[in-house]
Symmetry: C2
Subunit: 150 residues, 2 copies
Amino acid sequence: MATEVRSRVQRRADTVTRLETDVDIWVATAHGDQPHLIPLSFAWDGVRIILATPSGSPTSRNAAASGRIRLALGPPRDVTIFDAATAVVPCAAADADIANAFRRRVDWDPRDEEVEHSFLIATPTTARSWRSVPELTGRTLMREGQWLDA
Amino acid sequence: MATEVRSRVQRRADTVTRLETDVDIWVATAHGDQPHLIPLSFAWDGVRIILATPSGSPTSRNAAASGRIRLALGPPRDVTIFDAATAVVPCAAADADIANAFRRRVDWDPRDEEVEHSFLIATPTTARSWRSVPELTGRTLMREGQWLDA
């Protein structure tokens, strides 16, 4: 497995499987030159990665100010990394389809929290996936929001 | 395990075990509200986390410009997150003890690479560790570079 070099088609399929089944994702944001990083649970609606965190948290504030986050799915030796354009919406004001998709997947409704939470609605613009050094070649799966053909 | 709430002493011991035995760590940097995040192998000399990556990479450039990185050790449900003051030194110019510690641990000498690499020498200033929501209380293990007492 460690030396197998997957095709782009296989890497995309493996990435989609993780988007459909993994529980947590790494979420990196920035304010100026100050990085922030936490793990969060997520939902995937086929196009967007949906996160929820307190509206006053660094992650929400940074994402709201910049509109950009970076996400890493999987462990370090089987990773897909996304850059994503991100909208931040207070949970109470979010579309029902977003809130329902999140509640179904994560089994938690942030609208019930006493502290206001926001959804981060992240649309990937780039995706790169690799397991090992030989897989660094061919790691780009998505560019400018478009999955690349095989 | 999921509902056990570890003492600070235990979390620090678990963190040190990971620092001494894990292979990879998540490395977040930032430049102008733009987050960057990659996994890298690391060494630990008892005080500093040592990374190596091409000098021209976003991670090296961001860390050199800001002097600050954020690191996450372990999987999302058993994590220690560090903020760290970071020096960036071309590998060829680094002290031998840094280069040797890295080569011994990672089994790779970045001084042998054709593309110039730099060491990121990261001294943690804060450390927070948790496995589950009940563990969010008491997660701070280090503040201003000092491990907290039990």
